[in-house]
């Protein structure tokens, strides 16, 4: 490794370094505020370093290119948002809170490794870093049975998924004789002679392992329980950082190669997309718990993204990236509202508890409305442009069946978003008492996310340019 390699890896190094510093700081003195500030400072420094990092391949294991930089920025920004949310959320609760930030920093490091991985080894390493930290984060509320149960569920299923992934890696290595992802993609797409009997099951197992992380049908069974049991900020983290990083990896090696042209692989993704859109939206209809509803809705959204993913080409890749960026903002905002409304001993999650929210907390209700409308893809919000992009990608590839299913299921999706909105605007019987103001950290975050949401919704030009740059920086 050369000095330039170290500079290229600066964002990853800063995150890792911050984790250690925070750990030491906690050992010296426990202070929630100080830990939060240190964490944010570290993440912000890593974010700033993105502008200085040269784009180059770092050994065979990692690659820092325009594409990786874009996703690194996304993940780091989401981690900062998580930190603010978590600070507000855990400030109301008792017990040791500081270690959560260490776990999160390690998970973020894992996500960063995944994003810039160019080797099956770093893929696995990043994924495990992410998963193992997530076990702890999900079960962080040790006194709450739901949280512990969710952590255990995630642990068992993630371990199984990792086993599948490892087996897939082994098969791919046996069939193609390399673990370098660019070469793997090249061999698979060159159509040259290789052992399909080993390679195809290898790809299938790889998709299984990654599909679990993405929570697409049929690998989605853990999602509602984990979303429900995990503390709300952690749920937001799983929905954004964890899924975004895995999708970034998937997109990097699938979109340009001809792997998707292999009929069976294309079919598998089509079935996954269809099933995710249908199951996600239909099951979300049955939920009365907002976190579970958002869990199913996230399954559906991953289905939408897969439609653009399958459309392929630069337009498809841009649509996926743009959708993920918009989805990050929206999901952080939606879970952010759930998080800031939660009390010291339980979260506000049932739809009934949101009844009349507009008359008690008009601003929070308005923000939640904007987030839900964005998830539903209504104009003036980021979700609209994102959905437009995805449908455009699908239409350009003439995948009419998938596009029509997308349109119809997102119509179904509207129904459950509207149900929450209706409840928030229902007039209460008596005038409710004024509620305490939100914590400044929470207010800052929600305001920033709302502004972003509307800004992307009306003037997406800048984000479109960045996304375009990221995708051209890929090949």
């Amino acid at each position: 490794m050369t000095a330039a390699d170290f500079t290229a890896l600066l964002p990853l190094e800063i995150v890792a370094f911050t984790a250690i510093v925070v750990l030491i700081a906690i050992a010296v003195r426990r202070s929630h505020v100080a830990t939060m500030l240190l964490t944010i400072a570290g993440l912000a420094a890593a974010f700033a370093s993105l502008w200085f990092a040269p784009t180059r391949g770092v050994t065979l294991l990692l690659v820092i290119d325009g594409y990786a930089l874009f996703y690194l920025g996304l993940v780091l920004a989401a981690s900062i948002a998580f930190t603010l949310l978590a600070y507000d959320y855990f400030a109301r609760r008792y017990g040791a809170r500081e270690e959560l930030y260490v776990l999160m920093l390690i998970a973020t490091l894992g996500a960063c490794v995944l994003i810039s991985s160019s080797h099956l080894l770093t893929l696995f390493l990043g994924l495990e870093l992410l998963s193992v930290s997530l076990y702890g984060m999900i079960a962080y509320l040790r006194t709450e049975p739901l949280s512990v149960e969710a952590g255990l569920k995630y642990l068992v299923l993630a371990a199984v998924a990792s086993a599948f992934l490892l087996f897939g890696i082994a098969l791919l290595y046996a069939a193609l004789g390399t673990m370098e992802l660019p070469r793997l993609a090249a061999i698979l797409s060159s159509g040259s002679d290789f052992d399909r009997l080993l390679a195809l099951p290898g790809i299938a197992l790889l998709i299984t392992g990654l599909g679990f992380k993405l929570a697409v049908v049929p690998f989605h069974l853990w999602t509602p329980d984990v979303y429900e049991g995990a503390p709300a900020p952690v749920t937001a983290y799983i929905a954004t950082v964890s899924k975004g990083a895995v999708f970034a990896l998937l997109l990097r090696y699938f979109h340009d190669s001809k792997v998707l042209v292999i009929p069976s692989v294309f079919l598998v993704f089509s079935v996954i997309a269809l099933a995710s859109m249908l199951a996600g939206n239909l099951l979300a209809l049955l939920q009365r718990n907002i976190k579970r509803m958002l869990a199913y809705s996230s399954i559906a959204h991953l289905g939408y993204i897969l439609v653009a993913f399958e459309a392929g080409g630069n337009l498809g890749a841009e649509a996926v990236t743009f959708y993920l960026a918009a989805y990050f903002v929206t999901t952080l905002g939606a879970f952010g509202v759930v998080s800031v409304l939660s009390g010291p001993d339980r979260e506000t999650v049932m739809i009934e508890e949101y009844r009349g929210l507009f008359w008690r907390r008009p601003l929070v209700a308005a923000i939640f409305t904007a987030m839900l409308l964005s998830l539903a893809g209504i104009p003036l919000t980021a979700g609209f442009i994102a959905k437009f992009y995805v449908v455009a990608a699908g239409a350009s590839a003439a995948m009419w069946a998938l596009v029509i299913v997308l349109v119809v299921t997102s119509g179904i999706g509207l129904y459950y978003y509207l149900r929450v909105i209706l409840a928030m605007y229902a007039r209460p019987e008596e005038v409710p008492a004024a509620e305490p103001r939100l914590h400044p950290a929470a207010r800052l975050l929600l305001a920033a996310l709302s502004v972003l949401l509307v800004w992307i919704g009306i003037l997406p030009g800048a984000l479109l340019r960045w996304v375009h740059g990221a995708i051209t920086g890929l090949s």
């Binding site: 209504i378 003036l380 455009a392 349109v407 997102s410 509207l414 605007y425």
Partner: protein, 498 residues
Amino acid sequence: MTLVWLIVILLAGGTAAAIAARWSATLCRAIALLATLVDLALALFLWAQNNSAALDVPWLPQFGIHFHLSVDGLSLLLLLLTFFLGAIAVVISWTEITEAVGFFHLNLLWTLAGIAGVFLAADLFLFYFAWELMLVPMYFLIAVWGHENRAYAAVKFFLFTQLSGLLMLVAILALYFVHHSATGVYTFDYRALLGTPLAPQTSPGTAAPLTAITPHTEMWLMLGFFIAFAVKMPVVPLHTWLPDAHTEAPTAGSVVLAGLMLKTGAYGMLRFVLPLFPNAARAFAPVAMALGAAGILYGAVLAFAQTDLKRLVAYTSVSHLGFVLLGTFAGNTLAMQGALVTILCHGISTGALFALAGVLQQRIHSRELSRMGGLWTAAPRLSGAALFFVLASIGLPGLGDFVGEFLVLLGVYRVNVPLAVIAAIGVLAATFYGLRLVQRAFYGPNTHDWRFRDLVPHEGLVLGVMAVTLLWLGLYPQPVIRTFQPALNRLLAEVTTK
């Protein structure tokens, strides 16, 4: 630049009104009224200038999307109607809305902004954007300030319009990509897409040239647009959201829904379905006209059976919009002129009827015809106004609606005699439901012994202005027809030359 102001004033006015409501509800209402009146004045100014203004700035150049607004006679008249009814909607809710006044006016003005955007857009992406934009505030108008069954009505309204809108989005995108493959240019511009080469109706066996839309594709694309507009209009099998939404909405919501939102569907048919897909539209015209005629009869029969005043008026809308559909697809100047005049006059007469229903409901807290009866003795001015607007709505000669329906019948008779006969029966049926309404509610003995305040000045003023406008349109519609005639001629040229 005037065009963008038309939208900005409404958006900013709505926001300002919402903020002003923190201090004073009256100030909030005044700001909202001022915003609509300024827009009305601007539109009148444009009319007097008689120029076709346009504004075109790149918005998302990556996709060939422009922020392109333009106005011709057709959209100008609909804009005038929008701001006219907008101001009336603000005045008519002056005493009705007491809760969350600021949020109400925000939603009302933003709905109007969306509608104005629909009439102004000359870029299909922008059009879809505005099309969707008007839904959310209207949804809130129904869901928050509506009557008993508001939640159900609001959700139904939203689902119907949103789903059909998404179908249109798919059709728009398909057109976008087809246009690209035919010409090599990515654009959503209306004028450019009008120039998309269409293959002539080929006999089976002869292959169409690859650089043009095949008739098959054209038909599918046309249907995507048609269904979206048909839901909004509404065309009969897709109309079921309308009675619920119109009935449950607050007065201002009903006025905007019936007077303006339905017109966006009719406008879409004229502006997009006919000129973009002329061959498919011609082939589909018999079906569309049959649907229109069916709507006329169906709406009239159901209106006759209603006992809820607002529901009754809602079904008359289905009937009247049947005339519009019939006239739109008849394919000759007379019928189209009739459709346009009907669009304008129905907006005013039905808007006035909903306003009256709102005034009555505020007084007697009921919309049931059986709870009324003999109201004339209690409120002669209100009842007289109701009689006037009912007569206008059923097509009394001398009032605007008559001109529209007469022209439609005249035009359709040249194309299809049986449908003209059916439509004429519809006119007859209208007298039945109209007179039944007046008789049940206002004539006869005052059995419930109602005593309440007659029309107050601001209500009287609003209804008076509407009545005068209807009289003007009925006696001397020439200025209006002269305004939209050039646009209509261009449209007919697009349809017939391709």
